[in-house]
Structure formats: C-alpha cells, structure tokens
Amino acid sequence: MDSRGFKEGAKAALPIVFGYLPVGMAFGVLARNAGLTTLEAGSMSLLVYAGASQFIAVEMISKGMVWLPIVITTFFINLRHLLMSSTLSLYFNGNRIQTLGLLSAQLTDESFAVAMSNTSKIENRPGYLFGLQITSHIAWITGSVGGALLGGLIDHESYGIPFALPALFICLLIIQIRKVHHFYIMVIAGISSLFFKWALPGNWYIILTALLASGVGIVIEKKLIPSPSTGEGEGGGEK
C-alpha cells in the first residue's frame, strides 16, 4: 500500500478529528443516557459510523422504539451517501472490489468533503483516501467510547465545540467555489435547502437540494460554455 499517500491522508484528516472527538463524545454521553453500554456505543460508531443517524437512532432507542423504524430511518438519512459514493467513484476507476468496499464503508459527509476539496490528491490513490477515512473513523470511535466512559465531565456546549463541524463545512464549501457560477450554485442550493427543510420533514431537504442544485449546475454550465460546433461542412477528416 502507498504509505506516503496514507500519511498525507491522515494529516488531511486532522480538522475532522478535531470535530469528531467532541461530537463523538457527545454521542457517547447520549448513548449512555439512552441505556446503551459503552461497548454498544463503541460498536455503533465502529460499524455504522454515521453521525446524524447515530444520534437519531439513540434518541429513538431512548424513546423505546422497536428496531424496524430505526433501521428504515437510518437508511433514508444515510441515502445521501449513495450520491457521494457516486461522485467519488469518478476518481477510482478500475480499482479492486475489496479496495472499494473498504473505502466506501468509511464514507462520511466530512471525509467526502475533505476528499473533494482537492481531487488531485484522491485520484486513483486509495492509500490517501484510506488514511483520511480511517483516521477520522478512529477519532469518531475514540470520541464515542470516551464520551460513554467519561459521561458529563466536559461541557460539550462550551469552548465553541458545537460550531467546530459547521466551521469545517463552511470552509470546505468555500474551497469548492472555483469559478463564478459555482458561487451562484451555492446561493441557489442554500436558499433551496432552507425552503425544502421548512417544507419537508426529516432530512429529505439534503438530497433534494443536492439534486436540484446539481441539475441547475448542469443547465448553467451548458449556457455559459457553448459546445464547439461539431464538424464544419464537408471537411471532417480522412477517417
């Protein structure tokens, strides 16, 4: 395996680690409050590894729900990963299925966003993506187990901790804006997301906004970059 890529990826994960440790801890505390053991909380973070759905699942468990609605909710909340995985797949053409299985299992919003902030780093470099993802994953598990064990020792609402991940996302979003029309897509996506979230329950707004704004992106791009006319009269070529 490409160890230099791995180390690069791990380093790139540090801002995520910074966000995951406290949020993971918050999850650990909530899980304990809901009656899960430290082992169960840790296993959830190990196997599921999906922040939003873990928090929601824990809340549903604490309200005494059966497993089926929890599983269904988890499925729909994490459905956006389908699209993220599709985007990442563009950069891993031809890789072995085991590699892809391993990489895709650790896909999260944050590691996806960091990966996409510099696609030249991930292009056909599973080592980098792996380093990025496993470092983040370990931070998440550590945070969860730590939170479950330590309970309420640190005040999670303080030290600006609740804003760590949002700040990270904001920076990752800005990094995506490389051309003028990207800025407009961001504004359109932002406003749509507010509308969809207001109008629809749950997390549907995320996927709908993503589809809508991506669609708008394709349309705008077509208008801005006229495709070169194909062929001129009878010229063509020898073939």
């Binding site: 801002p15 910074f18 196997l47 599921v48 590894y49 759905s53 599983v71 988890t74 459905l79 990963h81 389908l82 699209l83 995985s85 599709s86 985007t87 990442l88 797949s89 563009l90 053409n93 031809g94 299925i97 892809l100 299985g101 895709s104 919003d109 966003a113 303080s158 030290y159 600006g160 609740p162 804003f163 760590a164 949002p166 700040a167 904001i170 920076c171 990752l172 979003l173 800005i174 995506q176 897509i185 961001m186 996506a189 932002g190 406003i191 997301s193 507010l194 969809f196 979230k197 207001w198 707004y205 995320i206 906004t209 993503a210 704004a213 991506s214 669609g215 992106g217 394709i218 791009e221």
Partner: protein, 94 residues
C-alpha cells in the same frame, strides 16, 4: 443499521468505477459537493434545534467571519479554530 448504511455507500463505488458514465451525469456529480455542502451549512444558520425556521444569531454571526477567512486563507484548521473561538466568545456576549 450498519448494513443499510453500508450498502448505499458501497454500490455506487463498486459499480460506477467499472462503467463509464454519460457526460451529463458526470457533470452533475461534479456539482454535487457544492450543493450538498450548501444544503448542510445554510440550515444550521437558520433553523433551531426543534427544526423550526428561526434566524440563529450565534452560528450565523460566527459563520460570516469564517466564510471570509476561508475565502482568503483557505485553511481548514484555521477556519475551525476561528469559528470555534468566535462562537465561544459570542456565547458570553449574546
């Protein structure tokens, strides 16, 4: 939970890396990160914990400097620390 989370993550990567996608779809996918990041960020600034729409001064006011800082400096670490510091500071003022 683990299984239904894993499958939507795995299938696209497993299958799409083996096929060539039509140009339009590829372009759409390239806009996906911007769209989804916007969808994640903006609601944080305008919705409260119960899911009701309501301007949220602490994250909104913290977000503006972070936006500007990220625009100029483009540092992930820096943005996170700056954002946390401002948010924490605002907690004493607001």
């Amino acid at each position: 939970m683990a299984l239904v989370t894993f499958l939507p993550r795995f299938f696209p990567m497993a299958f799409l890396t083996r096929w060539v996608l039509p140009e339009k779809v590829k372009k759409g996918l390239e806009y996906f990160p911007i769209s989804i990041l916007s969808a994640i960020v903006f609601p944080i600034l305008f919705f409260n914990g119960d899911g009701r729409m309501e301007v949220q001064p602490p994250p909104l006011l913290s977000a503006i400097p972070v936006f500007l800082f990220a625009w100029k400096v483009r540092s992930l670490w820096g943005s996170v620390i700056l954002g946390m510091a401002i948010y924490w500071g605002l907690g004493f003022v607001l």
